[in-house]
Symmetry: C2
Subunit: 268 residues, 2 copies
């Protein structure tokens, strides 16, 4: 449906179902009939976790806090107030999170927040090694199989770590010495992506673009230093295809934000 007419939803409604409506509304071609493929030809997926007060924080104690301000009985309406750091839940790291003078949340342009996405799967290795990282070798193997990573892409690591998100200690991977263990990108891979593939962003299904054991946050420095952004705590990466999706990063443009909460949708 590339006509740009407002009739998409009526037509989609005839085809039946909200998912179809969304596919049409995104301007994609007609959905394929139900097929036996593992990943549907067209789809829409929510890469966002519900923001709860128990969502794992990088540092315990930084969890979100909420309170009910008013309620329908007796106030007539209901709303909550939140006390949240910009880096809890599914969120963006702006370049200025680690880099002095780097761009902040409101300065990331819409065109940078709607980009093609590729998913690099290291879940097999991460199952055996919680310190696994996305390496240059992984990127090269990915490209041999799926083709060149497109310019301006968001490169997303699927480590399978999301299975642990309900258990903050397991998600942080804290060992007896207090060191964190979870997968991330290698700095070499990020440098390669920025310099050789002109990517726009990287994203992870863990608490940090750097692996948990990192003490110097080299990936954050390489990424922010190159004026690119990061996505952390992405959900459902196993549900989107390795190539061919695009993501829309609904970053809240916090004043002077170092990043912030984002609703992230993938469509293909």
């Amino acid at each position: 449906m590339c006509t740009g007419t407002p009739s998409v939803s009526r037509r989609a409604a005839l085809l039946g179902g909200a998912a179809v409506t969304a596919t049409a509304a995104l301007g994609l071609a007609d959905p394929a009939p139900a097929a036996a493929s593992r990943i549907a030809k067209h789809g829409l997926e929510d890469l966002t976790y519900t923001l709860t007060t128990t969502f794992p924080a990088y540092s315990p104690g930084e969890e979100a806090v909420r309170r009910t301000v008013v309620n329908i009985d007796p106030d007539g309406y209901y709303l909550q107030e939140w006390r949240i750091i910009e880096h809890i839940g599914t969120h963006v790291d702006a370049p200025g999170h680690f880099v002095t003078g780097g761009r902040l949340a409101p300065e990331l342009r819409p065109a940078e927040l709607i980009v093609p996405a590729v998913v690099v799967d290291i879940s097999g290795r991460a199952k055996r090694d919680p310190d696994a990282t996305v390496t240059v070798g992984d990127l090269q193997a990915f490209e041999r199989r799926y083709g060149r990573i497109p310019r301006d892409a968001a490169v997303l690591m699927h480590s399978g770590w999301g299975a642990k998100v309900g258990d903050p200690d397991a998600y942080r991977g804290t060992d007896a010495a207090g060191t964190l263990h979870f997968p991330g990108f290698s700095a070499d891979a990020v440098d390669y992506l920025v310099r050789r593939r002109a990517i726009r962003a990287i994203g992870v299904d863990t608490l940090s673009t750097d692996p948990g054991i990192s003490a110097n946050f080299e990936v954050h420095h390489v990424l922010g230093g190159a004026d690119r952004y990061g996505l952390e705590n992405l959900a459902n990466l196993h549900r989107i295809p390795p190539t061919g999706a695009r993501i829309t990063v609904g970053l809240i443009p916090y004043q002077e934000g170092s990043g912030g909460q984002a609703r992230v949708f993938a469509s293909w």
Copy 2:
């Protein structure tokens, strides 16, 4: 670009420029050459205000509050904490904001948050009458000119009120008696849209879907009672076409949220 291939951004890059990239990434057809039309044939617009501590609250005193938690010098990284109600800045009202048992923020499905949009312009009348509302007559006049409002649409009121957003008192329109004055929808019009046009949402460039003078929030009750959502404090509605755009509502899925901050993009 309806191919669903990952080559969109490379091709778009050849065409040149970030805006073009975004248009291609959204799955739209190739952008038209620069033309003299008032609204470009294809485009991407941010309907979101930066969330600041001075953004007008419906009730003074409810403004967002921020503090710097750590800074690059001396902490090595920078981030802020926010204390925010769910209904400040560009945000969504979930059905449960006013309706007992109504759906809450995490229950709004992605397919409901990516929908066709139409823009009903009442800015001429609102300039003379700050209590102006979108009426059934406005909707009928809109449809005579632009065609039927599509099923599942978000119907957005453009009142021109955004010009006042930098002055909270003017944006609230508070008179000497303390009564608020700003445009909104009439309850009749919302009832018509829900029952006769099966819309998904309404949106406004003011503080409330009800006009400022409303004491009983009838629009909120009609809308929430019909399990539809509202969008408030939308920016840049004068920059999107009356029909043919779609919006992506990046609502933060706050746990038991009565609504919440949202990044809203329009594309066409």
